[in-house]
Symmetry: C2
Subunit: 426 residues, 2 copies
């Protein structure tokens, strides 16, 4: 009985490791197209920034580790070019074929840079894989670029603007849309713009750029698209989001074929519908569930609430659930309250923390929240995320028994203050 | 129609302010026995430490503010000595009587120092009110004590040990029981002991002290007892915890008489039974609900899960819900998993964070958790608290969509790691 896993980063390796733990007798092989496996892709901006001095520090496990310690065969540089499910085999670039009994597709995603004409120029980079980061790092070292443009004001774009600026480059961020981070939120955009400008990073919204020849360095950060092609060609169903459709066991429409990670959809617990939100945390969770089910257990993946966080020059910006705009598009009647309070008392160096909560006017159910500030954004968004998982209503949220002592918080935590405010409105 | 509130600190003033917002025509009077109202009692250790330079900085509102801005009559130095509910009046020390239509009892608590013979000595202090803090501050300034003993290793005791040590005193903490913080948890006691010893504070457990004459300063910090006497004499029912029994509207057995704050019980959502956990956060929430119901609204207080946090020389220690020991006593079949992970990646200065989760073996329901570490305890305990409010089960907890980016957390947050561990055990 052979479990074959395509992809050796977050989802693929979580799946393989979990399957091994459940079934010591299973034959498990992982095929990874890149040169490295098991690296923390979210750490790549900090490798470029210099905070992580060596790329190896981002690598959690090596192929040798998996071979020796877990009895999992890992091959790098092995790109799967097709899947034949009737024959239960995959074909690797070069022609080699490999049989499977169970298959886990964890092919990940790639930067979405359709319609960008200059993508092939030597000073234009994306940042998605460890290879990307190594090439960019070498370019920074060898060419010493001075003027950088970052195209896209999403997570990667803003993190890269920060990393490059801290390397001394002049940085301009260019975004086609009217907001940062893909959220139609003028106040958030203003807060991020102020932070960027304080560090002399220019932000141009509603701007389309096609010619990047006047910059020494261009970073394409316009989002991700799932790697679904070989799966789709093999008859694996792709959902409306463009990612692979899975059930709550991470199984695709083909029995015995599972998908997990950045190539797959996940159930969004607020909307109740599949969503495509490629993130490392979700990939790991999905991978574990896929690995369990592919090795004979029955487990389900509960779904996501769309939690994310990033740091922009010391400003923590976090979301969970739906924005007002998203909620409206999903058919809710959103009402929102936004407050700014201190993360802790002034005498414990508390910083302003902005918390927005969104609820449905009809049901009083919490739909989402966003938080930003120099201190404490992560703790507050996690409370909101946990509340969303549990479909909490506003009046219950405002009574949460959260921790208080002056070194950590204010007596009315900012989440509670926002909930009180919202409670008057729904 | 007059609403009378006995007590002008957290619960009393929250109640009065809320009632005013709901009913602008209500006559509202607050009687406070002390000299100051509306102070952040949890900040008192930091006033003594010196981080808060002036006591006034802990005072949120003055009587004048309430009078002018809220049309609430606040009298300080007005100690209520009896309540006559048949006549709907209270008697103030000195003999003055005051009528009420609705009454809110927010008489708070006092240090529990029964059976301590030396309590009346001039170098023996408690720390509960602003007056206490001012007297102790003056003593530190005028007498320059060198050797301090803190009796009781609960929250106040440990915070005071920290504050006094930072003032240069030699500090010994003496605890009658075998553990710190009232939790039968050897590992927690060990972690706190190590932290105290690193700062050269001595901890003596299982020790009874009666003679404190060999110290220059003694702090009694052996817990709180609710101020229920005048209420009980008036026929207000006291629960098994010794605090005033209230329903979920904060009403006592006497119609129109409410109680809130450190004198009252609160429903514990994990046990489903009334508990006595006097804390400022709960007092404020109870006060709001009492104020709403006393002014004609119908609101309910959901209850508490027993969340608390404190800082001991830079170590954050937090709890929510039940410990293994408490769970067993409540009739559950507790199973616990404890892990130590990093608060964030090492390259973002992550610190070890210990997380224990307790669940019921039969139902897999989360019953409680404890967290300690130099970084991130507050965020994790709040996730646990929110999970407890929602009666989450372990398998749902481990799938929480928590925020991840390297500056804030690890890809598997320590709460999720602990939940995974626990999931294998229940």
């Amino acid at each position: 009985m052979r479990l074959l896993v395509i992809g050796g980063v977050a989802a693929g390796l979580s799946a393989a490791a979990r399957a091994r733990r459940i079934d010591p007798s299973l034959e498990i092989a992982v095929l990874e197209k890149g040169a490295a496996i098991s690296y923390g892709a979210c750490g790549l901006p900090y490798y470029l920034e210099g905070r992580v001095p060596r790329a190896e520090q981002l690598i959690v496990y090596t192929p040798e580790y998996f071979r020796k310690e877990r009895n999992i065969a890992v091959r790098t540089g092995a790109r799967v070019v097709s899947i034949s499910h009737p024959r239960r085999e995959v074909t690797i670039e070069g022609g080699e074929r490999m049989h499977y009994d169970r298959l886990i597709i964890a092919t990940g995603a790639r930067p979405r840079n359709v319609d960008f004409e200059s993508a092939a120029l030597p000073h234009v980079f994306t940042l998605h894989t460890l290879d990307d980061a190594e090439r960019l790092k070498a370019y920074l070292r060898d060419k010493r670029p001075k003027q950088a443009v970052v195209i896209g004001a999403g997570y990667i774009g803003l993190e890269m603007a920060d990393a490059l600026r801290r390397n001394g480059l002049a940085v301009t961020v260019i975004e086609r849309g009217g907001h940062v981070l893909g959220r139609a939120d003028a106040e958030l955009t203003k807060a991020v713009r102020e932070r960027l400008e304080r560090f002399r990073v220019e932000l141009q919204l509603n701007t389309h750029i096609s010619d990047v020849t006047r910059y020494d360095l261009a970073i394409l950060a316009t989002g991700l698209q799932p790697n679904v092609e070989i799966a789709a060609e093999a008859g694996v169903e792709v959902g409306r989001t463009g990612a692979i459709r899975v059930d709550d066991r991470m199984e695709t429409n083909l029995p015995g074929v599972f998908a997990a990670g950045d190539c797959a959809e996940a159930l969004h617990l607020v909307t109740g519908r599949p969503a495509y939100i490629p993130l490392g945390t979700t990939a790991n969770k999905m991978g574990r569930v896929a690995g369990a089910n592919a090795s004979g257990r029955r487990e389900r993946f509960g779904g996501v609430v769309g939690t994310a966080i990033l740091n922009v020059f010391g400003l923590g910006v976090a979301f969970s659930g739906l924005s007002v705009d998203q909620a409206r598009r999903e058919g809710f009647s959103p009402v929102a309250a936004r407050i700014t309070a201190r993360s802790r008392p002034g005498y414990f160096d508390g910083k302003p923390l902005t918390v927005e909560l969104v609820a449905d006017a009809g049901t009083r159910r919490l739909l989402g929240g966003s938080v930003w500030g120099e201190d404490g954004a992560e703790g507050r968004i996690n409370v909101i995320a946990t509340a969303l998982h549990n479909r909490m209503r506003v009046e219950d949220l405002e009574q949460l028994d959260l921790a208080y002592a002056p070194p950590f918080a204010t007596v009315w935590d900012s989440v509670l203050v926002a909930a009180q405010q919202l409670s008057k409105m729904v």
